[in-house]
């Protein structure tokens, strides 16, 4: 900035002008398309969904009104996504740190690729694996939890003998969101300026202190992005939850029972096939609720990060 260029400002250096214009046009179009797509989805959900708020009582399957219908689903969505994020985030950051800062390159490379491969597995495959392999294997653990921690509201008898509980669904989701969070946080950890790290080490910091003082503050915004993307996938995951979860129950904090609340996306998937116009409106209205909730969660996270960042720079 301080050194004023001797030649004319870059805009007027003619030779690159065509390329510049094309490129800026393409980027602007890309940005607008995303916005238009989001707006389009929102408008569709509103037009088709709002009638779903005012259907006859019978269409809400014994829940009286839309609120009574959607609250269970919203609870199930949030609960399964929370379990997934609680399990996946520490694991993902751990893996990302190992790959970026601890492991020698010959291990880090293959580990990173294997984690990335997980992201390419279709969710139906996770669903099949969940119901046929993972859920039955979890049953002895649930029985143990009920026997030893049964006094907690989370581990109440009777245990689901099939293992298709919301805890299983949350764990399957955790595995599904792991690669996204890992890949993004690995990249941002790698971006930490080496000078910062070396300065911290030179001041006598241990490796953990170096990561805490130099890497985390630098990567915070990227880490939050990673978690948000993971959370978004967990909130919106459809087939895996529909296949794994025994979700016909009401609101319950019991994580190992047979009657679990299902998630909004899974409910749409399983009810869509045999719909009537009334139930279709209701299903789309639940989709609108999910859309808004995802938006709010993202905004809240961004706001928290922005506030922290301001505090740090002050």
């Amino acid at each position: 900035m301080s050194s004023t260029p001797l030649t004319a400002p870059p805009q007027e250096s003619a030779p690159t002008q065509t390329g510049d214009r094309v490129f800026s046009g393409i980027s602007r179009a890309a940005g607008l398309v995303i916005l238009a797509a989001l707006a389009g989805v929102f408008i569709f959900l509103s037009i088709e969904g709002i009638p779903g708020l005012f259907q006859d009582e019978g269409a809400y399957k014994g829940n009286g009104n839309f609120l009574g219908y959607v609250d269970t689903l919203l609870f199930g969505t949030v609960l399964s996504a929370t379990i997934a994020v609680l399990v996946a985030v520490p694991l993902a950051f751990g893996i990302a740190l190992v790959v970026s800062h601890y492991a020698p390159t010959w291990i880090a490379g293959p580990v990173a690729s294997i984690i990335d491969l997980l992201a390419a597995v279709p969710s139906v495959v996770f669903g099949l694996w969940g119901i046929n392999v993972f859920a039955p294997k979890m049953v002895p653990i649930y029985v143990w939890l009920e026997e030893n921690l049964g006094f907690l509201p989370f581990f109440k008898a009777p245990v689901n003998p099939v293992g298709t509980t919301i805890l299983t669904a949350g764990l399957v989701l955790a595995i599904m969101i792991l690669p996204i969070i890992t890949a993004i946080s690995r990249e941002v950890f790698n971006q930490t300026p080496v000078l910062h790290e070396e300065a911290a080490l030179a001041l006598g910091a241990t490796r953990w202190e170096m990561i805490r003082l130099a890497v985390f503050p630098y990567a915070r915004s990227g880490m939050v992005s990673a978690v948000m993307l993971g959370l978004g996938r967990a909130l919106g995951e459809t087939m895996a939850v529909a296949m794994v979860l025994s979700g016909a129950g009401g609101i319950s904090f019991n994580l190992i029972g047979t009657s679990n609340p299902t998630s909004i996306a899974a409910n749409i998937a399983s009810q869509y096939k045999e719909n009537t116009p009334a139930t279709l409106h209701i299903l789309i209205a639940t989709g609108l609720v999910l859309f808004i909730v995802t938006f709010l969660v993202n905004f809240a996270a961004r706001w928290i990060v922005a506030r922290n960042e301001r505090k740090l720079t002050r």
Partner: protein, 375 residues
């Protein structure tokens, strides 16, 4: 400087462009070759019918419809058959509105909401309604050391109503003196999604037992128990659990090798089978006030006929007696004749595990659909 780098960048770009053009040319060339090949193959067989045949309705018939579609289009290569598995209700509505030439429905047209009259008006004459798809629903269970169980409708109803909760309950033990029943808790498995299987199963429980107080519905009415997605989800849940019991299309239960409940009919206990299911259709009384071309029956869930199995799903195909154009009439006639023929029923049995119609029912259906003609 900038110019030269621009020019450099252009070279690979142009090369890529040229390459992609040659690739598309190549691909297009292959495609026309392939088309020419298949064209010459198909023209050797001459189909008698041609055109587009659109239907919609019950998703229960979807797998059978795949088999029928392959079989019918094999006989008539110039026909395109589209079946939209929207569900029975939407299938009936579309048929009434004239959007489709035929409909598939799990419950026959009735005049409770004026649908039968509306459908007759659409056709101008009484509609044709023939049974096309009969599928036994098995009650299957997974219990260590027990391979077979005899249960009556009352006991099954109480199990699925969460009233009987352990396997050594006297109600079960009394009917199975030889079985070594453990005190394992019973876990019922039902469909999470709406399904005609659930509707027919609950209809059976409602009519055949005194202990079931719920309406026959697509959504399973009782809270509690494990819910699973689709037939395969239910089968997987019963297979993976211990002390589980559920209901599903018999064909998929057989494939999974699960033990099935013999259901009490009259004084005997009957296992689900194609013959036993077809038999129940044959002995079921015709629905009241039906025309000669309407084969709708009220499935006799309480039959005492020896060897009949009343837990079935029965699905109909619906069409008009006359159509505006000869082309439409010939298409519908040809298709329905194929469906109720031995060949069509065998194809569905193989692909969807349904029970072929018994000879009397099939020949009557054949006669009715054979009369479809242009106006």
């Amino acid at each position: 400087m900038n110019r030269s780098s621009n020019r450099l960048a252009l070279v690979p770009g142009a090369a890529a462009l040229a390459l992609s053009i040659s690739l598309t040319a190549c691909g297009a060339g292959n495609e026309t070759d392939a088309n020419a090949d298949s064209g010459s193959d198909t023209t050797t067989e001459t189909g008698t019918l041609s055109g587009e045949l659109n239907g919609a309705g019950a998703s229960s018939q979807e797998k059978a419809m795949e088999a029928w579609s392959v079989g019918f289009q094999g006989l008539n290569p110039d026909v395109t058959l589209n079946y939209n598995p929207l569900g029975s209700g939407d299938g009936r509505t579309q048929f009434i509105e004239g959007g489709t030439l035929f409909a598939g429905t799990d419950s026959y047209f009735s005049d409770d909401e004026g649908e039968l009259t509306a459908a007759n008006e659409r056709c101008g004459t009484d509609i044709i309604e023939v049974p096309a798809y009969v599928s036994p629903i098995a009650v299957m269970f997974n219990l260590d050391g027990v391979d077979s169980l005899d249960l009556d409708a009352d006991t099954i109803a109480q199990i699925f109503d969460q009233k009987i909760t352990t396997w050594n309950d006297p109600a079960i033990a009394d009917q199975n003196p030889d079985a070594d029943l453990p005190d394992t808790p019973i876990t019922t498995v039902h469909r999470q999604d709406d399904s005609g299987t659930t509707k027919n199963f609950t209809d059976y429980l409602g009519k055949a037992s005194k202990s079931w107080s719920y309406e026959a519905e697509d959504a399973f009415p009782v809270k509690g128990g494990v819910a699973a997605e689709g037939t395969s989800g239910v089968v997987a849940a019963v297979t993976n659990g211990k002390g589980t019991i559920g209901y599903a299309d018999d064909s998929q239960v057989k494939d999974a090798g699960l033990s099935v409940v013999n259901v009490k009919v009259g004084d005997e206990y009957v296992a689900p089978s194609a013959e036993a299911a077809a038999k129940v259709v044959a002995v079921s009384p015709a629905a009241e006030g039906r025309s000669d071309t309407d084969m709708a029956v009220d499935v006799d869930r309480t039959t005492t006929e020896a060897g009949a199995y009343p837990v079935i799903l029965l699905s109909y195909l619906v069409a008009c007696q006359t159509y505006d154009t000869a082309e439409d009439a010939d298409l519908v006639k040809g298709f329905l004749e194929y469906v109720v023929s031995d060949e069509g029923q065998a194809a569905a049995a193989e692909n969807a595990g349904s029970a072929p119609l018994d000879a009397d029912t099939a020949s009557r259906a054949q006669e009715i659909v054979g009369a479809i003609a242009a106006k």
